[in-house]
């Protein structure tokens, strides 16, 4: 008898589909999901769906179509001087 039940494997696999397609699973974990998906239509479909999602999401990016508004520097031009955050908002973080 294996270490995990089929139900355990199924729930675990469903939770790790993104890790799987991203290549974030170690060798043993990947083999566990592979073995389970061979016999589980749901998880096989889940892998295909997750791969499709990752192919589709970058397609929504709008580098060519979305332009910053013309007035994006208006407040900078109006403020003129540096170093005065006067509205209680957190200051920009220092770079790491």
């Amino acid at each position: 008898m294996g270490l995990f039940s089929r139900t355990d494997d199924h729930q675990w696999s469903q939770q790790h589909l993104s890790h799987y397609v991203e290549g974030d699973l170690g060798r043993r974990a990947r083999r566990r999901l592979d073995r389970h998906a061979e016999d589980c239509a749901d998880c096989g479909r889940g892998i295909r769906a997750m791969r499709a999602l990752l192919r589709l999401i970058p397609g929504i990016e709008g580098a060519q179509a979305i332009r910053a508004p013309a007035g994006i520097f208006d407040k900078v031009r109006f403020a003129g001087t540096q170093g005065t955050d006067d509205d209680g908002a957190p200051a920009p973080p220092p770079d790491a």
């Binding site: 990752l54 397609g59 929504i60 990016e61 709008g62 060519q64 332009r67 520097f73 920009p92 973080p93």
Partner: protein, 197 residues
Amino acid sequence: MPQLRGPGILDTETRLVARARAGDTGAFEQLAGAHADRLFAVLLRLLGDRGEAEDVAQEVMLRAWRGIGRFHGRSLFFTWLYRIAINEANRSLEKSSRRPVSVSIDAEVLQVPAGTQDEPSRRAEHAQLRQALGKALAGLPPDHRTAIVLRDVEGLSTQQAAQIAGVGQAAFKSRLHQARLKVRAAIGDQALIDAGR
């Protein structure tokens, strides 16, 4: 991708940072302007409202200008600028206590294979998918939405995206995986598989 750069570009950036730190607004505009379109796109994805994104974008530039003295070149300028943007977007969402109704996904920028664009039924399917993706992203908690926008939409590395989000890489990946599972559940496996063909 905002990180298109070579040694020459980095030299230029270093010079612009130095001039901006000395109070040169023109240098700052050149420096930050190189990232303005991408930054605005990120804000639009996070906030889902063009007017609010415009206000926040102006605020981000103001904060970056006022805080440029705190930027020492230890990270890339754009990661520092994006971090300010994420903080400001979250502040704006908290102030208005709302979630975006939908994250705008423009028809013309969804990269559908050329041959399928002429087929009315496929176009309708992709329009539905855009709508579903927009709603699914909008329904995520802000930190999960940020993870998907930075990593999957912007295509940043995990290291860069985690730095911008202000968390470690393990925590960032955990958010990202959770977010993807939620989007997958919201859209449905079969719809994703059909659209991904």
